[in-house]
Amino acid sequence: MSSRLINWFKFSSPASFYPLARKISVVSTVIAVVLIVIGLYMSFFVAPTDYKQGEGYRIIFVHVPASWMSMFIYVVMAGWAALGLVFNTRLSAMMAQALAPTGAMFAFISLWTGSFWGKPMWGTWWVWDARITSELILLFLYLGYMALRAAIDDPRRGDRASGILLLVGVVNVPIIYYSVKWWNTLHQGSTIKMNNQTTMDETMLITMLIMTLGFWAYAIAVAMARVRTVILERERSSTWVRGLTAAEI
């Protein structure tokens, strides 16, 4: 590796990243709390009632950002995995590992809120809509990644194997989405279309944006906290971990 890159990779060492992760985590937590509180307030009290869907529509302020996050986090994980496989940096794989439960949680929230939204709107908990189905498959991809990670004892093999899986997954996500959409349009009669939000109020848009940013900050905060525990567990026999004082942990 050329010497030019060494500086760039300074924080790719778990030992130097560990204290930094704590700072990022604290800052992100504060931002997340503030944004989500504002966002929720706006979703419930500021945003106007939808003339067609009534009050029930307000769940989209959680549903839509959660869906975005679930997709986005998967792509970020794949990015980390690619970095880890190319440069053989341990931290990259740890980041992917730390993000996975949060991504899966957002996918689950997206499905759950979608289902709660669907019940009053269409009178059914579940429709085989293209987007809901894709979200479900995305959840499966997350679970597959976490299961593979958990099944491999050797952490390094786990990093590399699950990294390959992530890359395979991220190539497949658009194909899966496209095929599910195709399948859905061919079976139009049996399902209900759900993209009726063409006329979205500006307040609604801003609310959704704030919620998305809040979820972002939350994801970063949780991932950083989790990566710290992953680092501690993985590096427990190293001298720098043994040298940590109680306050630093």
Partner: protein, 216 residues
């Protein structure tokens, strides 16, 4: 790229390997040139097999580099594999195929042709006369090992990496294998061998490295 006769062909530079949590060896450096035999010693669990697998390019070391003629073997990949013959704990032969079939498929994958008659001759030389045409699952442990070792006679690789090659062999076969290794080294090849039995691996160009001394 390093040139000249003095330059070592295979260079191990501050190599560290770990298995799970445990560091097996740290900052190991040595070099081997053509015509040298390296005898690797060490107690169980000292990392002999891990080192050999790293040298073969199967295992990704924790840190450090292995260079073949000045270039990292990770970058060389198939180019390095062309010069390499690795025999691990597993024989790497299919039980459902005969000895001849096993030898010929291995040859094709190693990038050269081995015709039927030559395959028979090689198996004859290694002491498997009369067993060439049986599925190898019907052979004894020692005979299976001989099928695997037959590749040494057929192959033209310059680096031999042999992990416990003497296990399951009888006295005659041990003698034969020693001769084969010494002949290979005398012809300018290099061999890296682990044993834990007291097999006399001493020749003119034998070097010994013992693993697991400094790390307890």
């Amino acid at each position: 790229m390093s040139t000249g006769t003095a330059a070592p062909a295979l260079q191990i530079d501050t190599l560290s390997c770990a298995r799970g949590d445990r560091v097996l060896f740290r900052d190991l450096s040595f070099a081997i040139a053509g015509g040298e035999l390296l005898h690797l010693k060490g107690r169980n669990g000292s990392g002999k097999t891990t080192l050999l697998r790293a040298l073969a390019g199967l295992l990704l070391p924790e840190s450090g580099e292995i260079r073949w003629q000045g270039e990292n073997i990770r970058a060389l990949r198939e180019e390095y594999a062309r010069h390499l013959l690795y025999l691990g704990h597993l024989n790497g032969i299919k039980g459902d195929l005969t000895a001849v079939e096993n030898l010929r498929i291995a040859a094709v994958l190693d990038g050269f042709e081995l015709d039927e008659t030559r395959a028979w001759a090689v198996l004859d030389e290694i002491g498997l006369r009369g067993h060439e045409d049986l599925p190898t699952k019907h052979l004894s442990q020692g005979q299976k090992r001989r099928v695997a070792l037959a590749r040494l006679l057929a192959n033209r690789a310059s680096i031999w990496i042999l992990d416990e090659p003497f296990t399951a062999l009888d006295v005659a076969a041990v003698q034969l294998l020693q001769d084969v290794i010494h002949r290979h080294v005398a012809d300018g090849g290099m061999a890296i061998v682990t044993t834990h039995q007291e097999v006399a691996m001493i020749g003119a160009h034998t070097r010994t490295i013992e693993l697991g001394r400094r790390h307890v």
